[in-house]
């Protein structure tokens, strides 16, 4: 456990150093800031809650998640996140982790979909089960090589539509994902922007979500990351578990293939 933490710290520091090639003083100090944060990640608190939630019998059917199939067979959690999103035959749909969890809450635990997805993003003491579950499940893929296969036609299509979405400019500010994440060596304010159209940037970004966001004191999932990007792009509200959210996730996850997954991380 300790070694894992130290590794995470080293990788974070290395990432920060990579971004700050010019090594001017503000960048070096920010790298120090990030390194100090990595020494203790409150995402641990979410991981603990998530593990307990996974095993807890809940819902009208009084069932735990332990029969939930995340793609590697019922109950297999280890390494599952590194292969998501993927096509699930039982739903005939490409699903990311959170979409799949909502599916299991409905089919296994007997919740109505509206009830299962009432709180998808937590705020303070009103926590989201999705964030806790995602913290633990993704931690179980730490160190596993990203391997999103695109073996199914619907996975191909999700990738292709996600790519279109990535470059789609719209809204009053004309912003696309690519506006901020289409070139290397750029930053917004003092934050390095990963270039998601190149392998290194795509890998560094995707493998470090979910993350504990210190500015919010919350653990945030990839669904949240996308929703909040579009908020700042001045788009409408990206629906949780929507086809567009899954397509874009598929595009970004696939581009991270080959990198070791390394989340939950800790970020500004």
């Amino acid at each position: 456990m300790m070694i894992r933490r130290r590794m995470a710290a080293a990788v974070l520091a290395a990432g920060a150093a990579l971004g700050a090639l010019a090594q001017s003083s503000p960048e070096a100090e920010i790298a120090k800031y990030r390194e100090a944060l990595a020494a203790g990640n409150p995402a641990d608190l979410w991981e603990a809650r998530g593990e307990a939630l996974w095993k807890q019998k809940r819902g009208p059917k009084n069932a735990s998640f332990e029969a939930c199939d995340l793609g590697k067979g019922p109950g297999v959690v280890k390494g599952a996140y590194a292969e998501l999103p993927r096509h699930f035959a039982d739903a005939d749909r490409v699903m990311d982790l959170e979409t799949r969890l909502a599916h299991c809450m409905v089919t296994l635990q007997g919740f109505r979909y509206e009830d299962a997805t009432k709180r998808v993003f937590g705020a303070g003491t009103n926590r989201s089960d999705f964030e806790s579950l995602a913290a633990w499940i993704t931690a179980e893929s730490r160190g596993v090589t990203m391997n999103v296969a695109l073996g199914h036609a619907k996975e191909h299509e999700a990738y292709q539509l996600g790519e279109k979405m990535f470059y789609f400019r719209g809204g009053p500010h004309d912003f696309a994902c690519a506006t901020c994440h289409g070139e290397s060596g750029k930053r917004i304010r003092l934050q390095d922007l990963p270039n998601l159209t190149e392998k290194a940037g795509a890998q560094l970004a995707y493998t470090t979500w979910p993350a504990y966001r210190v500015s919010q004191g919350e653990l945030r999932t990839f669904q949240w990351r996308l929703n909040d990007c579009f908020r700042q792009q001045r788009f409408p509200d990206l629906k949780f578990a929507s086809d567009a959210s899954i397509a874009l996730t598929t595009f970004l996850a696939r581009n991270a293939n080959g990198a070791a997954f390394n989340a939950p991380a800790i970020k500004r």
């Binding site: 300790m2 608190l45 603990a48 210190v214």
Partner: protein
């Protein structure tokens, strides 16, 4: 009820390194909610860490300590297998105690 702390204690060359993460809002009492009402202060105000019944660290905090607080310190004399117990108390009188085994 509050969530358990995450405590890690590791011994090396006779020194025990302790890292604690606590689940707490640490409300400053200065923040307004969506309706514009002040959210009352709610924060951990006291912490005690003990080893074999002896206090190895105690602290008094104000609301300026960050949400989901982190604390790290080192003490001498602990052995692998010993217990480290941490207790916090907040300004509303709520307390929580958790322990871990030194490894």
């Amino acid at each position: 009820m509050s969530d358990p702390m995450r405590i890690r204690a590791a011994e090396r060359d006779g020194v025990v390194n302790v890292k604690v993460l606590m689940s707490h809002e640490m409300e400053t009492g200065q923040r307004k909610d969506a309706a514009g009402k002040i959210v009352p202060a709610h924060f951990i105000s006291k912490i005690t860490a003990t080893h074999q019944g002896k206090t190895v660290l105690s602290a008094q905090w104000g609301p300026a300590v960050s949400k989901n607080p982190f604390l790290e310190f080192n003490f001498k004399g602990g052995k692998k297998g010993d217990k480290v117990v941490v207790t916090w108390e907040d300004n509303k009188g709520e307390t929580r105690t958790d322990e871990t085994t030194i490894n």
